[in-house]
């Protein structure tokens, strides 16, 4: 039964390699994109933390900054 699934009448190497290539491409793209996102979030947090009080207040007024901070905190949890 398992041999049949693996060999697929001799077409197994073609079928499995096509699926493995597809899934590994997806996994690679996902990981690269995730790492880039985490890197930018980390850089943002570092920059935000180094701002003085008045600049922090200005930055906090922007909705998108709040959203980034909220999302980064959730990601860290």
């Amino acid at each position: 039964m398992i041999n049949e699934i693996i060999s697929m009448n001799g077409y197994g190497p073609y079928v499995w390699s096509a699926f493995v290539f597809t899934l590994s491409s997806f996994a690679s793209l996902y990981l690269i994109t995730k790492l880039q996102l985490l890197k930018e979030q980390k850089r943002y947090i570092a920059k935000f933390g180094s701002l003085n009080e008045s600049k922090t207040a200005v930055a906090r007024e922007q909705k998108i900054n709040k959203e980034i901070l909220l999302n980064t905190v959730i990601t860290k949890i």
Binding site: N9, Y14, T22, Y30, E40, Y44, N71
Partner: protein, 235 residues
Amino acid sequence: MFNFFKAGKIFEISSRSTKYIFFLFIIVLTIGLTEALFLSPEDYKQSHSVRIMYVHVPAAWMALGIFSMMTFLSVGTFVFKNKNFFLISKSLAPSGFIFNIVALITGSIWGKPTWGTWWAWDARITSMLILALFYFMYLLSWRIIENKSNAIKISSLIIIVGAINVPIIKFSVNWWNTLHQGPSLKIMSDTTIHSSMLIPLGIMTAAFALFSLLIFLMKFNTEMIRIKNKGLDRL
């Protein structure tokens, strides 16, 4: 009219929905793979090699669909001067490129048992290769052009020129004698694929679309945070 395309609005949606889309993608992909690899029947002519269709065809559809979307967005960038269009287009490109590469490689793997060759300079394959080159040039233009407004113009122009290739890919099987068969799925008339194969194909296409959406949202978030990082420098 373009309220939906406001960067803040998209960021709000994208930052919250990514994890849900990821889980949905995993579920749909698992069902799709089970159907494609184990439950769907083998073809009377191609036997089990027909299963490659379940990754090859959705990948090709997605590569073409994403490029078409990028074309509309690039035209929109020039016509409406909407700065968010290029950002959406830039975030769509990586998944489109990967789908294009997957379509070419899995097509090559499928070609060996079916046509007896890994590669042929057939109209459909060649036009898909040209599409991959346009994707590559687009991604490269963002890497090598430092001036942002020049990068927007040049990358949009690459997509608009590349759009000429899209109808060529679609109708290549009708215009020339190619190794590829004619279209089996038709909007205006009955499809020639049996439902036992059509359903797994539909599920795998849905999984690929979800993956594309996931990568798009993550990439869009990255780009937005990058812009906001520069904004913090200017405070």
